[in-house]
């Protein structure tokens, strides 16, 4: 019962809004028809996204919903990356970050207060977001800047065979002892044939994060070949 009331209220509100827009639109339609046109235009609150529709369309909740949907679709097309994290997660799973639940309720001192659920949630969400960003770069030749359409996952699906736990090690391909990011850059230069990234390039940092995350739980073993 309550749900139905809310739904109806929402619909009313929506149609009211659409009504207002329609009103504005009708006025412009009047202006347009004065010029000889048959369509009306609706502008989203960003002031940029516009949708046209027939001026004589019925002014029902349904047609209002259609217009609102189309506006949303257009806006999403212009802003494709707004849901990038969720989108990336539909393609690639990442190992979850530690949840630190056992720390909730502990306090260090008066200054820092108690560790709360909100804190642990924040830490986990942000850590995983960073790793998902790395997954995005890892799986995209375009993001890596490959000149031959090669991405890391072609030889390392799910970051297999990357062995981040073995660094620092003498890397035969580089003829010296290196860290993970040096080997990432070697791969970027040679198999991926892109320009090597600066050490503090956000893409490099994200790539490292993703590779470490996928190897969660493996004991460190530096130098292992």
């Amino acid at each position: 019962m309550r749900a139905r009331v809310i739904r109806r209220a929402a619909l009313l509100a929506l149609s009211a809004l659409v009504g207002v827009w329609a009103l504005r639109a009708t006025r412009s339609a009047d202006a347009a028809s004065a010029r000889g046109g048959e369509t009306a235009e609706v502008t989203l609150c960003d002031g940029q996204t516009k949708v046209e529709f027939a001026a004589d369309a019925p002014k029902t909740a349904e047609s209002g919903q259609k217009i609102a949907d189309e506006l949303m679709k257009k806006w999403r097309e212009k802003n494709p990356n707004v849901d990038w994290e969720a989108e990336e997660r539909t393609h690639h799973t990442i190992a979850p970050a530690a949840d630190n639940k056992d720390l909730v309720g502990n306090s260090q001192s008066a200054t820092y207060g108690e560790i709360t659920d909100r804190d642990t949630q924040l830490w986990k969400t942000e850590s995983e977001r960073f790793v998902v960003a790395g997954s995005k770069v890892f799986h995209s030749g375009a993001e890596l800047g490959s000149t031959i359409g090669v991405s890391c996952d072609m030889c390392h699906p799910d970051a297999a065979n990357t062995h981040p736990e073995t660094y620092p090690k003498y890397q035969v391909q580089l003829g010296r002892v290196v860290l993970l990011r040096d080997m990432i850059n070697w791969c970027i230069e040679h198999p991926v044939r892109a320009t090597p990234l600066a050490a503090d390039d956000p893409r490099m940092r994200a790539l490292e994060a993703y590779i470490y995350a996928q190897r969660k739980g493996t004991p460190l073993n530096y130098g292992k070949r």
Binding site: H91, H92, G149, D153, C155
Partner: protein, 369 residues
């Protein structure tokens, strides 16, 4: 405890030293006998010089025939990526050098990388240079941009069968995926891009599917149980690792259709590595890619598989190659993996028949981990 390698080298040294002491007549007698013994057992010592054409001759006998395979080239157009084009050219060159020529060449699927017409055209143009006749098999990278339209126009039906020297060959489309793209409103390019990611979980699992299974059953109607059967399939027709679609979802049902035959061999692509399995009457052999190697899956590896060594990324073609299959009259095969810049590896009939006891291929120096 001496390793296999040490023992082999010691016995070889002994043999060579002994040979030096023989007179010419004795030497010729011994050499002939040794060569004959090696040929009969199909043994290829790991450190002998075995150029591809010599290796294949060694495993041949009366009633055998050979076909070559080239697979998983993942071509972009030439100006976009020269490396993959180079790989396919090299494979074609290898097969053309085979002496004698194989009976035919199987192309194992994934000719294109993103299913574009230009990519398929590029591949078709290169494959035209093969001297032997070619049998094409489709992979998911060829299919999901236009749902096989260009592939069919270039190469014909994705399911077909033929008979060759008493063996029935069946090629089947085993990369059918349940529709995951319509609900999401994906464009063809987005659909292909999703399928193109091995670890992309938004796609569905490979299946042979109801229609193709029905076709398979019908095609095999009337074929006697003792007819040797060889199935060409892009996906492995068993369940190895779902996340990477090293997997056929209706594998059990397909295997059921095949279970009445005495000897079935499945030659599959998609996995870009040495892969060997045996389930009941069916032997499964993977093919190498000409473009890049996959790592081994973290779980699900069949017991009979002896991994190829971990590839060195400094060599872009390490872990890649082409190969050939020698089919014996009983339908069992010797599968030769011609790994570029490495010693070739043969997974022989003796190995399969003994369930991995006899004639074990060499273990790799560096394993996947």
């Amino acid at each position: 405890m001496k390793g296999v390698e040490t023992k082999y080298l010691e016995s070889r040294d002994e043999l060579l030293q002994g040979l030096a002491k023989l007179n010419r007549r004795q030497f010729m007698k011994v050499a002939g006998a040794a060569a004959g013994a090696a040929l009969a057992q199909g043994i290829l010592p790991p450190h002998s010089f075995t150029p591809v054409r010599v290796a294949s001759a060694a495993t041949g006998g009366a009633g055998d025939f050979r076909f070559a395979y080239v697979s998983d080239s993942h071509l972009y157009t030439r100006d976009k990526n020269d490396r993959f084009v180079r790989g396919l050219l090299r494979a074609v060159d290898d097969v053309n050098r085979m002496d004698p020529q194989p009976d035919f060449v199987l192309y194992g699927g994934d000719l294109a990388q993103l299913g574009r017409a230009e990519e398929l055209e590029t591949g078709a143009q290169i494959l035209k240079n093969l001297k032997a006749p070619v049998r094409m098999m489709v992979g998911e990278h060829d299919w999901y941009f236009d749902m096989g339209e260009k592939w069919r126009s270039l190469f014909g039906a994705d399911n077909y069968s033929f008979e060759h020297k008493g063996v029935r060959f069946v090629t089947i489309n085993s990369v059918v995926e349940a529709d995951f793209w319509t609900a999401k409103g994906l464009t063809p390019a987005e659909r292909m891009g999703t399928v193109a990611g091995l670890d992309n979980g938004a796609q569905s699992s490979f299946t042979v599917g109801d229609a193709n299974r029905a076709w398979l059953a019908k095609e095999l109607e009337g074929v006697k149980n003792d007819t040797p059967l060889v199935v060409f399939s892009h996906s492995p027709l068993y369940k190895l690792y779902k996340k990477w679609n090293f997997w056929t979802d209706d594998a059990e049902e397909v295997q059921k259709i095949l279970s009445r035959f005495d000897t079935v061999t499945v030659i599959h692509g998609h996995t870009h590595q040495i892969l060997t399995n045996r389930i009941g009457n069916i032997s499964f052999h993977g093919m190498l890619s000409t473009a890049w190697p996959w790592p081994y899956a973290p779980q699900g590896l069949p017991e009979m598989t002896i991994q190829m060594g971990r590839p060195d990324p400094f060599n872009p073609s390490d872990g890649c190659g082409d190969g050939e299959v020698t089919v014996h009259p009983d339908g069992m095969v010797d599968k030769l993996y011609n790994l570029w810049n490495r010693n070739p590896v043969t997974v022989s009939r003796a190995y399969m028949k003994s369930n991995g006891v006899e004639d074990r291929p060499a273990k790799p120096a560096l394993a996947s981990y």
